[in-house]
């Protein structure tokens, strides 16, 4: 990328800087249906800069080998690159190296934690007291969760006899600590919430929630998919017990994600998958498991993906997450203001301010989200349509599907304005009354 000297770290990225950033993302130069692409779907998956693609290719050309096995030179190089990548990502989120587990993606990471609870509490087992779930114990999520942070907990509840409870949201899809406090009880053992909602963009009051959880002795699980790519994140300081996020939403490759687990709690978790690379001693009858993170990394790992993710993290660090956050806040405000004033448009989520990050999902009265998305696509504007893996939230809002525009560091004012202009013409095009 173009070298960037970012002296003032509190100022939003400027248009010129964003233009320089965009030159690192050739995918953004595409023309779609005769128009320049306006990629407003980074909440689903982000585009990747050349530096990330180049790094993965260089690794595969120069250092590719199996990691944590073999003694030849390439095996050593690959293992070093793999563990260096872990260190880079750990630094990025305020974690220790032994608190970062590679997973396939965030869904996989959340399943790892959930299944560990099920395994710890299987019939006949004597669970670590921190992981014990007894009938009548409660797992708390919110009504706004992505299915990936809901269904695994439904499964844990079904397997252990624990009760799944949820923090209800209001008509905008927003919940507060007051709502959460009404649901938390001394029986609450796990609290699992999205840091930033993938539909409303609402930022959860995590610090307060962690404080409440600590008072109750409950474990906190943070779905950081929509926060880790967009704002500075210090999970150690935040005090959550577990967190999950995906590489492909933060300029990295698909096929790799991260589970953060606070030590020594992470070491108390039983393994989810078993097999090679996660054991110390194996007999025909039994096995001893390695400590975390290797305990959770059975089988061949996504090595080049880990190396590329670390490069993505370095890229984000160079630009500065605080400056990205400030820039996205400006563009989010522009989107929210534009959509709020538009006849027949119902924006979900908090109105403005610090509570919303980079996402605007909305309903167009009388026009289905698929049709909205199709019209926008005809103008080269890529948005997400559907329930965004959050059916209960949509049901609560009285909607089946919404249209969602989501931003990233490369998004421009022009792209937002093109989206707003196209949306303003949707109802007339479809003859909505």
């Amino acid at each position: 990328m173009a070298p960037m000297t970012l002296s003032d770290t509190t100022v939003a990225l400027t248009d010129a800087e964003v233009a320089a950033i965009r030159s690192d993302f050739p995918a953004l130069d595409a023309r779609v249906n005769g128009h320049p692409l306006a990629y407003l779907d980074s909440g689903a998956t982000a585009q990747r800069p050349l530096a990330v693609l180049d790094r993965e290719r260089a690794f595969l050309l120069e250092s590719n080998a199996a990691v944590h096995r073999g003694a030849h030179t390439l095996a050593g190089d690959a293992t070093e690159a793999f563990e260096d990548a872990r260190h880079t990502v750990a630094q990025f989120i305020g974690a220790g190296d032994d608190e970062v587990v590679w997973t396939a993606n965030a869904t996989d990471a959340l399943n790892l934690v959930a299944h560990a609870f099920t395994a710890a509490n299987r019939p006949g087992a004597v669970p670590d007291e921190r992981l014990a779930l007894r009938p009548g114990d409660e797992i708390v999520v919110t009504e706004a969760e992505h299915h990936a942070n809901l269904i695994p907990w439904q499964q844990v509840a079904a397997a252990t006899g624990a009760t799944l409870r949820f923090v209800p949201v209001d008509d905008d899809g927003v919940w507060t600590m007051v709502d959460a406090a009404a649901v938390l009880t001394p029986r609450t053992r796990i609290i699992a919430v999205a840091h930033v909602s993938n539909v409303t963009g609402y930022t959860a009051p995590v610090a307060q929630l962690v404080a409440a959880a600590k008072e109750l002795g409950a474990i906190t699980v943070l779905d950081a998919c929509q926060s880790a790519p967009h704002r500075p994140l210090d999970l150690g300081a935040l005090g959550v017990d577990f967190a999950a996020f995906s590489s492909h939403k933060m300029l990295g490759p698909t096929g790799i994600g991260v589970l953060y687990g606070r030590q020594p709690l992470l070491d108390a978790l039983p393994p989810f998958r078993t097999g090679g690379s996660m054991i110390s001693t194996v007999t025909m009858e039994s096995a001893e498991f390695l400590p975390a993170p290797q305990r959770f990394e059975a089988g061949t790992q996504p090595v080049s993906q880990a190396v590329a993710l670390a490069e993505a993290v370095r890229y984000l660090d160079r630009v500065g997450l605080d400056r990205i956050e400030a820039r996205e806040h400006e563009l989010t405000t522009r989107m929210v203001d534009g959509l709020t004033g538009m006849p027949g448009i119902r924006l979900v989520g908090p109105r403005v301010g610090e509570q919303r990050t980079g996402i605007a999902a909305f309903d167009v009265a009388g026009v289905h989200a698929h049709d909205v998305g199709q019209l926008l696509d005809a103008r080269g504007i890529a948005v997400r349509v559907g329930h965004h893996c959050a059916q209960p939230l949509h049901r609560r809002l009285g909607l089946t599907a919404t249209t969602r525009a989501s931003l990233y560091l490369y998004s421009t004012t022009d792209e937002v304005d093109r989206m707003l202009d196209a949306v303003s013409g949707v109802r007339a095009y479809f003859g909505a009354r």
């Binding site: 249906n33 005769g34 026009v367 289905h368 989200a369 698929h370 049709d371 199709q374 019209l375 005809a378 103008r379 349509v385 559907g386 329930h387 059916q391 949509h394 089946t400 599907a401 095009y429 479809f430 003859g431």
Partner: protein, 156 residues
């Protein structure tokens, strides 16, 4: 607006998406099927009464929620079924499916498909094929659930 978009959202489709022919509930259906598109949550419940021959229906009714393509497709299907009493609808479903999988290539047979040819433009958009197919798949499931008619008995 681009030509591709108008090729997809033809006036007939927009009109049917609002009129919704056959959107009602049958008091006594012989078969009923609920079809859901899990990616977007669009859904249709389609009901039929048995017709005089295998693959034919007496009455066809539906209700559902979804995009203009899925709603218009159900509406046009209801109109075609009403126009073809006593006719085996399976060849029509097969013809429609073939067109929807054509990726916009070839010329659809409008003598067989009637107004349903209007979805030829939609077939270019792979992400929308499922929308157009929703009601048709539901009808197929209903036909499967109907007792074999006199024609099938004669063949057997």
């Amino acid at each position: 607006m681009s030509d591709d978009l108008s090729a997809m959202y033809q006036e007939l489709i927009l009109d049917h998406s609002r009129r919704r022919v056959g959107q009602r509930t049958l008091e006594a259906a012989d078969a009923s099927h609920h079809e859901l598109n899990p990616t977007c949550g669009d859904e249709i419940t389609l009901q039929v009464t048995a017709g005089a021959a295998t693959g034919a229906v007496g009455e066809l009714a539906w209700h559902g929620n979804g995009c203009s393509i899925s709603m218009a497709s159900a509406s046009i299907l209801a109109e075609l079924a009403a126009d073809r009493p006593g006719t085996d609808l399976r060849p029509l479903i097969d013809e429609f499916r073939t067109m929807m999988h054509s990726r916009g290539r070839g010329e659809p047979d409008d003598s067989a498909l009637g107004d349903a040819v209007v979805f030829h433009g939609t077939s270019k958009y792979v992400m929308r094929v499922k929308c157009a197919m929703l009601a048709w798949v539901a009808l197929e499931k209903c036909l499967d659930a109907l007792p074999a008619g006199p024609a099938a008995t004669a063949d057997a």
